[in-house]
Every structure is written in C-alpha cells, then in structure tokens.
Amino acid sequence: MQRVTSLFLLISAAALRAAPPSAPTAALPEKHRALLESHCQSCHGAEKQKGKFRVDDLPFSITDIASAERWQKVLNALNSGEMPPEEEKQPAAVQKTDFLDELTQTLVTARRALSDQHGVIALRRLNRREYKNTLHTLLGATLDVSELPADTRPGGFDTVGANLFLSSSQLEGYEALAKEALEDAFAQRTAAGGEKKLRFEAENTLAGFKKSNHEAHLNHSRAASWLKAFEQAIARPENATLVAELRKTHGSGEGLRHQWEKIPGAPHPEKYGLPNNVFLIQGFLTADEFVPYEQSYLAMPGLDTGAYLTRPFSNLGRHSNNALFLPGIPADWPPGDYTIRVRIGATPEAPPERRFIEFGVNHSVDRSPFLSTHEVTGTRDNPQILEFRHTLHSKFLKERARNLFIRERGLGIFNKSVDYFREMRRQNGVGPELALWVDWIEIEKIPTPEEATPPGIRALTGISLDPKSPPPTEEQLREALTRFATEAYRGLPPRPESLARLVQIHRDRLQLGATPREALRDTLAVLLTSPRFLYRTEPEPQEAHRPLTPLELASRLSYFLWGAPPDPALRAVADSGQLANPEVLRSETERLLADRRSEEFLDGFLSQWLSLERLDFFQFNPKRFPRFDANTKAAARAEVLETFGHLLREKAPVTDLLKSDYVVVNGLLASYYGLEGVQGDTFRKVALPPNSARGGLLGMAAILAMGSNGERSNPVERGAWVLRKLLNDPPPPAPANVPEINRLATRVLTTRERLQAHQESPQCASCHRKIDPIGFGLENFDAAGQWRTEDSYTALDAAGKPDPKAKKTWAIEPAAALYKGPAFSSYHEMRDLIAARKEAFARGLTAALLEYALGRPCGFSDEPLRESIVAHSSQRGFAAREFLHALIQSQAFQTK
C-alpha cells in the first residue's frame, strides 16, 4: 500500500481510539423525583408493585437500554393520560409539562448515547440507488429497480451500513436484474454503430383527424335516429306499464336505454349501423359538442406543414385525438439513450399557462404520468426545437413503452380536461383555443462512441455476442472474466479459485444447451451477485481504525458524490498513490462535483435530509390549487436540488438556504412565484424584488407544500420541520395514537384557535409550545405555498360534510414568539430570527452530511469532528463546498 502523506497519519491508530469525547450523561434532573414520589410510588414503589412495575428504583442517570425502556414506559403512561389513574390526585399542569419535556429530552439523549457507533461503520451494501448507478456505469444499462426493497427510511439515510439489510428474496432479485442489465448491454453492443433516426411529420395526422371526425358525425346521426326510434317505442301506450316498472329500477335516462331489449318495438342498434353497446351510443350522442371545435381546427393556418395539439375526447365517442401520440420507437431499435426533438411553437392566442408540453411513454387517456415538462417559448411563426433525452429500458421493450407521447400540460387528469373544454365552450361557443402547433417530432438513437463503451462491455472485448459464433476458448473467457470482475469489484481482481469456479459454471451452462451468449450472461450474472460486488468492502480483520487504501478512498469519494463507482480517471489517481494527498484529494473532489453525475448527490442527500418524500404524501385538490399541478410540483421539488447545486457551483453560503435575495427557478416556477421575464426549462438564479417572501427554504413552494395535507396548511408539520431541519433542535417523535384534532372538526374555529387545544394538556404542551409558534409564522402561505392574507374554514356537519352555513374567514395573524426566544410580528421577522441562527443550521447540516457520507449515525463521539467542520466552513463564509471539503479531508472520512 502507498504511504500516504496527509497529516492525520501522524496520529497513531491507538490514539484514534483513545479518550473518545465522553457522551453527555442522559440524566433526569433530581427535582423531578418529587413528582414520582407523590404521584406514582404509592402503587409502584417498594411495598406495592401494581402491574409488576416500580418506579422508586429507577436510575435518574440512564446508562443502559433496560432502564431506558422502563423510563419509556413511564413516559408512555403519562403521555397517554393512562397514569396517574383518573380517580387519583393529578400533578399540577406546569409540573407535569416540565417533567414530560425533560424526560423526553433525556430519553432522546440516552438513545443517541446508547446507539453511538464510536466510529465503526458496518459493512455497506450497495443501496438501491447505488446498485442501479453501479450497473449503469459498468454496463450502460438503465434498470427499473423498483422491485428491490427500498432502502430509505423516514429520518435516516440509505447509506447507513447497519440499516442495509439483505435476504434471499433480494438476492434472487439481484440475479434477475443482473441478467436483465446484461441482456440490455449485449443488445446495445450488437446494435452499436448504426445511426437510427426517425422523423414524424405532424401534418400526417390530418387525414386521420378528418376521417375520425367524419365517423363521429355519422355515428352521431345514427345514434340520434336510434334514440328517436327508442323513444317512440317507450311512448307506445301498450308499453306504459312495463316502462313504468323499468323506470323504478333503471331511471329514465341512460339507465332505461340499457333495457331496450325488454321493450317491444325498440329497434336493435345494429339496424342503424351502431354497435350493440349503449355506453358507446351514449358517447356518440354527445359528439356534436365538438363540431364547432373541429370546424375551427380545420380553419387554422399551418395544417399543410404541421398540426395542433388538441384536447383528448376519446371517452366521449370522439377520436379527433390530436394529442400527438408518436408512432413509437421501431421494434428492432435497441434499448439505450435516445434524443427526442420537437419543432413546436405557440399560437398568438395561447395563454401563458398553456405554453407547456408533457412528454411521456405509454399513453392512455387518463392517469398516465409524464416523464418531463417543457416550456414552449417559440411561436407558430418562429418555432423552436425542443430537445431532450429519453432512456429506453429493455424491460419495457415487450410492453407498450415504445410508444412515446407529447401532450398539452394538464391533460393527465381527464375530468379536468373535459371540464375545461366545456367551460371554454360555454364562454366562446367553440372550446379552448388551439395553443400549440407542432411541425415535426424526431427520435434519434445517440450513437455510442467507441471510447464511451461502458467498462464492463469493454472487458468482454474479443468475445463474440453473435448467436452463430462458437463459444470463446477457455483462455479468452478467463481473460475476459478477469477484466470484467476487476471492473465489477471496483479495481480488485478476482481470486484464482473464484475464476476457476466461474469458468466451470460457464462450461456447465453450455453443456446444458445454453447458447454461448446465454452462458456468458448467466456466468456474469453470478459474478454480479457476489458479495464482492454487492458490498463495498473495506477489509480489516482486527476491527482496527486504519487508513483506507487508495482504492477504498476512491470508492468512498465517488459513492459519496456520485452514488456510483470511481471513473477511470479517479481510479488512475488512486493507482498513482496520490489520492490521499490533500491537494489532490481536493482537486478530485472539485472534479467530481463539477461532473453531471453529482446530481445524484443532490437528489440522494437533499431528498432524504429534508424529507422531500413528504411532497408525495398528499394529492393537491385540483379545484382549490389548479396551478399547483404535477408539473409545478415537480419543478418545486427540483428547485430545492437546483438551489443547493447552485450553492455548490457558485461557492455560495449555505446560509442562503435560510434567507437570500434570489431564487433558482425555471420559467414554470418563476411564473408560479409571480416573477416576470423568466422563460424556458433551465433553472437559473433570478434576483428577487425587495421584501420578497421567497428566497431560502422557508419561501420554497416544495417546503411549504410538504407542510400541508393537499388541502390546508399544517402549522405543526411546518414548525416541526423547521426545528428539525433548520434549527437543529428536533422535537421528539410524535407519540402514536394521538387523535388528529378532528374532535374539533365540527366547530367553527380559526387554525390558531384549533391549535390552542395543544396547550390544554401538559403532554401536548411540552412539545407544541416550541413547534406551533413557528407554524403560525408561516401561515401566510397556503397549502400550495402561495402568499395569502386570509384563510377560512368550513366546519363539518354531523355526517362529516362541510356545512356552508358554518364558515369562518379570518385575517392571518402570524405574530408569535419563539419558545424562550424573541417575539416576531410577521413572517419576514420570523425568517430573520431563524436566519440569524446560522451556527445551529450549520451544525444540523454537518451532522446530516456526516451520516450520509460515512454511512453511520453521527454520535456524541463525533462532536469534535462536527465542530471542526463547522469552524472550517464558518471561517470561509459558510460556503457550501467547504462543508464537503472539510468532511472529505477529515480523518474520519479516510479511515476504516
């Protein structure tokens, strides 16, 4: 192993373990003994032990799990109000609140102290993200890994070794996915070289448009004639009794028409050239709704060279469906990366919110999610070419995922689309303006240059994948397997015994009739389920804290910043022995951060640190928040990541996350925030007007929306989030089985009045006196993160329905005071108070980074490291990058 020159090695391994900083003692202050003595011990003391539980011998200093669990029992009994029993004397509210507060904090401290890993990192399996990225790096295959168990847990990171489990089901999953990735890679390799390109001219849809409209007209008149005959039949006097009887169960409208066969004289639909299906006939009957819309379509300019995106109505008996579904990627095109280009422009009539398209695969009229949203900045007279990338997965080849689509924004919700159509038709007699004109759509396979061949495939050089070729010689196979394994094991060659067994497995497969290609695939899949691939090993039999080898350090670095294995350049630096040189390590860190793959760090770290998964917990009511649709939500989520990316790139301070005079947004989000002059899909820094509520996490739509249930803002969720993520003062986890405050649902109260309930009982007040005031300070933002000055509530009636008579509207009153801290009169003042607590924020961020990077929880023994990172960064103006540098340069990062 190379001798490493960095400073820390001067400290011996023994010194590393010597004198760890002592954890603070988790001790409950003595003053609380009085409460136990006067309220608990008569039943749970030395003499009497009701429920076999005594409190008189509980140690006030908690040093082991057993006593922690006994105290937890005390806490639970008090929290639930179970103890002291109702008929007994109750402690004074203030006394009980303080007792609960301190006991809760003591238990949180005890849990942290007892779970301190003292620097030991348990063997880390590749988590689900890393596994996917690793196979992508190795083979160029993009897999759908959703069938593997998710490794994320609320409140933790998916990089923590102790929490990454493995089971036989999962091993089977790995084997299947490895085979799939190899198939994918083989297919890409056999298809490599040839350029594939297809252009779809939009004007070709015109004939189909006319034809389906023509059919719709025919069907409409046939359906109308059938209905007329049907109505004549039910009007016959001799049918009166029967019809009256049928109406009792089936009603008079469509329900009755379904019963036509029972009514003498009602004609068979087929006689009118209709299908024998009343549902379809009903659809045909409504088709005349679209006649003016069609006529206006056909009068539009530009139909000879392009087409307009229309609203989809296929459910309504109409197939004038110009949502432009692409013809699809031809069946013989291989999986891999494709470029999609759309030449498109908006019409002069298009309102700003309709200048967006959604792109996706496998379209159905309703419910199909899209993959990306794109803003259209070109015009019909001066179109633009939108370009984006699409990865075709091999798994979906057999399914319908070759069919791509673009459609106008917001058409995924069918009812909303139909409602909008009808509303516009009511207003203008036609329907929504045609907003987007498309010239053509192009799909192109990005040719893979030879040097971009993934390392795992390059390792197989010399082995033919042609089904007709003979199998490789043993020598060829041995060499290829050695190269492949070295790549898969992140630089470590396979052991000879291991190689011999793999060669044997390959031979066996051939013997059993597998083709050479299948035999190779299966053998490599075995290699990819080896523990040497699935675990990032840092061997050390003696459990000592030793410096990492250069290859191990390279892996730690690349998995931290890319969630992927080292690239050849990083491996080369490691091989040269220079990686642990602080300057070299710093420049490699810079290089990795500048690479596009560092987006994985942004997503992996930020979405877990800030608990962004909550954004998907609730659907937003489209009626109340029409603008906060799936597109805006996706952009709002991206804003959080893009902002942090901006801080890293521009060496800007992380305290900009508390307050800043700019935002990092794209066109869609800028318009959501009411900022003008920002267009296009690219996120960029945009200056804010003075006194803007935006700027910093507290003003971000994603963060505010997470503190809601899709309907109403949730001050408790928001306040707790701020304490946890910004102020480094996490409240203890909420006790289970606390009823939502729905017992107040029938009362007409403001949000603040409602939350007053938390102050009624000591067990609630002990945490909520800290949480709720911050939530009140954010009440100027509605559930979807828009500024508001008033709010209203409609109480529910006994049946659980909103009662319009019981409605209350009030002006938002954000004034409150931080617990044991200063008062504020507005959101802006509160934001300033929070922004002033830079150190606390930096400490919280550091702990999260430490856990994410090192793969173990940040314990009390990490305090010195944490302090040194905060100090280092604070001297450099809290620049985001410096946190990463300080951490990567630390001894802990470079030590097993």
Binding site: L114, S115, I121, A122, L123, S146, E147, P149, G156, G161, A162, N163, F165, L166, S167, S168, S169, L171, E172, R367, I413, N415, E497, S498, R501, L502, I505, D508, R509, Q511, L512, V526, S530, P531, L534, Y535, T537, E538, P539, E540, P541, Q542, E543, A544, F618, Q619, N621, N709, G710, E711, R712, P733, A736, N737, V738, P739, E740, N742, G800, P802
Partner: protein, 432 residues
C-alpha cells in the same frame, strides 16, 4: 372442477419416497376404512392485510353490542351471508408499532422496530412463517407469500416484500400478480427429468460458488462487518433450503389447475378477486397450507374509478369530504371481495363432504385502524379451522396484544409454540 387422484401420483409415491400432497388421499382413506381412526384434516391459514386500515365510524360493529347478537356495520354489510362464519375482534394492538404508515410491516410479527440498538430497523418472524414451518412439511410450498408489486408502496403496507418475515426478521417476497401466482402453482415443466436434475445440480454449484465467495471475504473482515455479511450467508442458505425442497418434488408434476390461466393486465378489484380464487385453488390442490396476501389498495381505488390517492383517502378525517366517501367505498369493496373468498372456500368440498372453510382460518386486518391510529387494529377472523368462536363481536380489553391472538391461532391450528412476538398468553375469549 376436481380431478380424480391421478394414477401416476400413486406410482410416484411408492417409488420416490416423498411425502405427497395427502389431503385427498386422507379423505379417501377415511371412507375406505371406517374402523381406522380418522386422520384429522390438515389445518390451513390465510392472512390478508389491507394497509391503510378502515373507516372507523362505519366499519366496526358497536362495542356495546358484544357477542352473537350484534348488528353488522355498514362497512361489513356485504358479509351478511357469512355472518355466522366470522367474528370481529376488537381491542387488539401491537404495543411497539409507532409508525402510522406501516399497516403490514409489524402486523404479524409484533416486533419492536428499534429493538436492535444501532439499527434503524428491526423485525421478527411473522406468525404465518411459524405456522408454515409446522403445517407445510408435506406440501410443495411451505407457504406462499403473495404481494401486489408496485401498488404495495402506495397501499399503506410499510416496508416489506409481503406480509411475511422470516426467522431473522427479513422480508420474504413472492408472486406479485395472479399470472405469476398461477404459474408458480400450476406451471407444467416439460423438460426431461434428467435435464431437470442437471439444472438443479448447476443451480447448486452456483450457490456453492456464492458461499465460497462469502467465506473468502469473511476471513478478511472484522466482527461488525461479518455480522452484516452473515445476512448474505443466510440468504444463500435459504436459497439452498428452498432448492432442496424443490428437488424433493422433482418429477412430480404440479397438479391440474382448477381454474383457467388468468389474463395479464388485470388490476385492482378483478386482480384481488382472481388472487383469492388462486389462493383457494392452492389450498384445494394442497399445494400449500399457509398463504399471505397484501392487498393492492391503491389500484383497487383506481379500478373503482377513484382518482384520489389512497394515502389522501386514509386521512379522510382531515381533508375533503369526498375522502370519507372513498374510504367507505374501499371498505365495501374489500368486504365484497372477502365475501367472495368465503363463498369459494365454502364451495370447495372435501371428499368427506366438509368444506375448505371447515379446516381453514382466514385472518383479515391491518395494523392501522384509521389515519395514524394503531390501536384497536381491525381484525376479522373467519373459518372453522382453529376452533375460534364465530359469529361474535368479540370486544377484548383495550390494547390486548395482537400477538396473543396470533398465539391463540397457532395453538388452535395445532402448532404448539410457547410464545410469539410480545405475546403474554392465549386468549380463551376467542375460542368456541
């Protein structure tokens, strides 16, 4: 529906010395010789979990109406025709479960998520797997753990690959769609026996290789790392155990399917119905005696033309009023489907004239009651397999351990174990 015992199967029994599916043979013997003491029917267990809980206001019968004379609640109305065949049990809870989004993770285990210091997650064996170890010795699959694929993560089940967790608290996966379940149970393998044997040998050598790789690595690692690597060893050993079991059944064809091969692409209501039919078929052919199934609650809603997502629905107390309607619609559909399952179990007659439901216990419930509430876990127990009191509204003291109910179920099904999870004893009140 029923196929007569194939002659081939008898032939194979005598030569292959393998304990064969013996349900029908037993019944046959019972008739053939009245003098021999009848061998009891094997016990079967079905566990069905539905993640997000129920609408508490309309699903539970009134607690004041204890016993057999209770009025069926609106949410259970579709089960009216089976009222005498099931009981509702109220008051049960898992004391350690604290996560309001984990409706299935600890439901059958009762484990403490934070029971292992230094780990963010810990689980124990689920009750079905204890039963499987005892009841599943003589059948092709000791258990079959069915799941619902991508819908699972949106259906309030929490972490896991099915309802089932193995003896080390690791998740067990299984078929995620009726088509897959059908193939697992009834697929015919036309490969010649010799070749099948060779394939098994090859599979074994692959597992041996994985074992060797892990041993190699083990020598270079310290204690903490090896404790983690142990999961790999266990995983491989579990695969070997399964392989040995499959090997014992080599050459014994899978039974004829008592239903048609399902169409792919079904989702939600029809998918659940079909999965229920397959579960009954699995019992009928004695392919397994223990099944678990996590219901695709989210795609059930989609198939009912509901566009609201299932989590939003589960908080019907808070958001908009239509969430309550959706929640109740969900309860009704689930009850309808369960009624269908009980119909099928009743209809599956055994050679002695009894029905499958006479020998089966169906457990239907969730760890979540409603919203984030984890007490009075909804529990419905049907079938005469474990000697339970049926037709009652059984109201137990608040926070009676769910694991006590599971222990009672195990004992009633002839599985003699001391305890399960945090059980403190059996619940005589549940027994007839």
């Amino acid at each position: 529906m029923h196929n007569a015992l194939p002659r081939r199967r008898f032939l194979q029994t005598s030569t292959a010395l393998i304990a064969l599916p013996f349900l029908e043979s037993l019944g046959f013997r019972r008739f053939a010789s009245a003098t021999t003491a009848p061998v009891p029917h094997p016990k079967r267990l079905l566990f069905i979990g539905f993640g997000w809980g129920v609408t508490e206001e309309s699903w539970y019968p009134k607690q004041s109406e204890k016993g057999p004379g209770y009025t069926l609640s609106a949410g259970l109305a579709p089960l009216e025709r089976h009222k005498a065949e099931f009981s509702i049990v109220q008051g049960l809870a898992n004391r350690y479960t604290t996560n309001g989004h984990y409706g299935s993770t600890f439901w059958l285990t009762g484990a403490n998520e934070f029971g292992e210091p230094g780990q963010s997650f810990h689980n124990g064996i689920s009750v079905d797997q204890i039963a499987a170890a005892h009841l599943g010795k003589d059948v092709r699959f000791d258990s079959l753990c069915l799941d619902c694929g991508a819908a699972a993560s949106k259906s309030g089940h929490g972490p896991g690959l099915s309802l089932s967790w193995d003896s080390r608290g690791k998740p067990i996966g299984g078929p995620t769609h009726p088509v897959e379940a059908f193939h697992r149970l009834f697929a015919k393998d036309s490969t010649p026996l010799d070749q099948q044997k060779a394939m098994f040998a090859q599979r074994r050598s692959i597992l041996d290789h994985a074992m060797e790789e892990a041993r190699d690595l083990q020598r270079t690692l310290g204690k903490t790392d090896n404790a983690k690597l142990d999961e790999y060893f266990q995983g491989i050993r579990d695969m070997e155990t399964r392989l040995s079991r499959d090997e014992k059944w080599l050459g014994i064809p899978r039974p004829e399917a008592p239903l048609h091969e399902p169409q792919p692409g079904l989702a939600g209501y029809e998918e659940i119905k079909l999965m229920y039919d397959i579960m009954v078929a699995a019992l009928q052919t004695d392919s397994t005696r223990v099944l678990t199934y996590r219901l695709p609650v989210s795609s059930l809603l989609t198939s009912l033309n509901v566009t609201m997502d299932s989590h939003t629905m589960s908080h019907y107390h808070q958001p908009r009023a239509e969430a309550l309607e959706v929640s109740q619609k969900r309860d009704l559909s689930q009850s309808e489907l369960l009624a269908h399952l009980l119909d099928q179990l009743n209809a599956a007659k055994q050679p002695d004239g009894s029905s499958l439901l006479d020998h089966t216990t169906v457990v239907y419930g969730s760890n979540i009651r409603t919203g984030h509430s984890l007490d009075n876990c909804p529990t419905l127990i049907a079938g005469r397999g474990a000697g339970f009191q049926l037709g009652h509204n059984l109201v137990l003291p608040k926070d009676t351990p769910l694991c006590n109910a599971w222990l009672t179920l195990l004992r009633g099904s002839g599985v003699e174990v001391e305890r399960h999870g945090d059980s403190t004893g059996i619940l005589p009140a549940l027994l007839a």
